[in-house]
């Protein structure tokens, strides 16, 4: 397939992502992949792609893309102020410039192309993990190819071009996320166990694809533990008593006690909380 999208500006971050690498964590290879897998899947479905087909993950602001051929594109996830509406598939003309100026709601937007982004795979995944040398790193003037010229739907069927209400998410609403007890829950004082769910937490600017740091009341710090596997969504409590929630690019093992772990479906929602967002938690068990 010919080149479809040119990266004019990489802004805060643009990368190729899919559903990540399963089966390699025992060697220290993180799961990786899209930060918000739900939105990735919806963007792909809008074009009739497989849910886990590689997409462009666009973070926060400053990304500009040039469309190099008449095509269909689908956007889902954060509203980052581009001319494309999230949760829709649209016909886009050659030469169109798509500028993602800044978040109106959410943090990561997912742009699907017909058939998915064409890319080599590392451990079976196209996801970029620059720190570990996995995936193609997109730079200014990089071009992205698609796997098909046209989406997998017929021109007379319009229903599939807007995501159904159940699939759309409003990232400007207040966020309360469900958590389960972590493996070291019992190591924490009752006051700390309560503080996690009673307080309002703010997402720190020192957050990235490896971990989201939370700012709030001081959590009591238990002794560090022998290294143990870490799942994405785990609330690790380092020396400063402020939780770090491990995200998909985070390390596979760690030595901080884990107070809680997000219910799996909530990881996508946390990923969309831009720095400064207030969130609260509630125990599931």
């Amino acid at each position: 397939m010919p080149e479809l999208i040119e990266i004019v500006s990489t802004g805060v971050g643009v990368s190729i992502q899919d559903s990540g690498r399963v089966g390699w964590r025992r060697f220290g290879v993180p799961l990786g992949g899209a930060m918000d897998r739900h939105s990735m899947a919806v963007a792909n479905r809008l074009l009739g792609n497989k849910e886990e087909a590689p997409v462009l993950e666009i973070m926060h602001s400053g990304v500009t893309l040039r469309v190099l051929a008449d095509t269909w594109l689908a956007l889902a996830g954060a509203d980052l102020g581009s001319s494309l509406q999230p949760w829709r598939a649209e016909r886009v003309a050659r030469g169109t410039l798509l500028s993602f100026t800044g978040p109106r709601a959410g943090l990561f937007a997912y742009l699907a192309v017909p058939g998915g982004v064409d890319s080599e795979r590392w451990f079976g995944s196209a996801s970029a993990d620059a720190r570990n040398g996995l995936g193609h790193v997109l730079q200014k003037a990089s071009c992205v190819r698609s796997m098909a010229a046209l989406p997998q739907f017929f021109a007379h069927r319009v229903a599939a071009r807007v995501a159904i209400a159940e699939d759309r998410r409003d990232f400007s609403a207040a966020v309360e996320l469900r958590v389960l007890r972590g493996p070291q829950f019992e190591f924490f004082s009752e006051a700390s166990q309560q503080a996690l769910v009673n307080a309002t937490w703010k997402v720190s600017v020192r957050s990235d694809r490896s971990g989201f740091r939370l700012e709030g009341p001081q959590i009591q710090v238990p002794a560090s533990i022998v290294s143990e596997p870490v799942l994405p969504g785990s609330f690790q409590i380092p020396g400063n008593g402020q939780p770090i929630v491990t995200m998909v690019d985070g390390p596979t093992v760690g030595g901080y006690a884990k107070l809680a772990v997000l219910a799996e479906a909530e990881l996508d929602r946390l990923a969309q909380c831009a720095p400064g967002t207030n969130i609260s938690f509630k125990w599931l068990d």
């Binding site: 390699w24 964590r25 220290g28 290879v29 080599e120 596997p229 799942l231 969504g233 390390p251 760690g254």
Partner: protein, 213 residues
């Protein structure tokens, strides 16, 4: 056998208090004949995490494990010995010597004289946590980690020796470097990546550092 099983998240189990023999036997078995619903395992220091397809597989896994421990596991396979050619010119040699009340030559002799075992991998792809460090070289990690450590850096931290596998920040003390790559991401770029080619070491390997002078 007094193993502690803990659920972790919605569909994972942590098996705690494992010695290296049982850990290695379990890991060999999981790779040859995994139970129903098995997705992957991750080793910690004296523990093992099993990730399953769904919460519905947790019960069957517990039964599988209990039955297995009753029958008994095969002993682990005989470990390989891997030699790591090392040039001892690390930035922290003098500091480590001073902290341990040893000469630089003694630090090198002690580090290269010991035999290590790969206990787990993590922190970065292919980064080995090596057991077997002489206790006179146990040192706390740096108070402020370095922002950039070159892959191939031979280092010690706490009670472990290790080898940095990718360029990364890090808080361990640098003793030297090796040209033997721990991780070759380029070889992961194929349909059926072969872990024995991508990662030089595997869990359970015996490791010796060869002083290149």
């Amino acid at each position: 056998m007094d193993l502690k099983l803990q659920s972790y998240g919605e569909r994972a189990i942590l098996i705690q208090n494992l010695d290296i023999t049982l850990q290695s036997s379990l890991v060999s078995l999981l790779q040859v004949s995994p139970p129903v619903g098995f997705v992957e395992f991750v080793l910690g220091y004296d523990n093992l995490m099993i990730v399953l397809n769904s919460a519905a597989d947790l019960g069957a896994f517990r039964t599988w494990l209990t039955d297995l421990l009753e029958v008994g596991l095969d002993p682990p396979v005989e470990p390989r010995l891997i030699e790591v050619p090392t040039r001892y010119d690390g930035e922290d040699l003098d500091w480590v010597a001073k902290q341990s009340h040893l000469s630089v030559d003694e630090v090198i002799a002690i580090h290269s004289g010991a035999e290590y075992r790969v206990r787990m991998m993590g922190f970065a792809p292919g980064f080995p946590y090596l057991d077997g460090l002489d206790p006179c070289l146990y040192l706390d990690r740096r108070a402020s980690p370095r922002n950039h450590i070159e892959p191939g850096s031979v280092a010690i931290g706490g009670s472990h020796a290790g080898i940095y596998s990718v360029a990364s920040p890090g808080g361990w003390h640098l003793l030297g470097r090796t040209e033997l790559p721990m991780f070759r991401p380029d070889l992961a770029r194929m349909n059926e990546p072969d872990p024995t080619k991508i990662f030089t070491l595997r869990i359970g390997d015996r490791v010796k550092f060869m002083n290149l002078g």
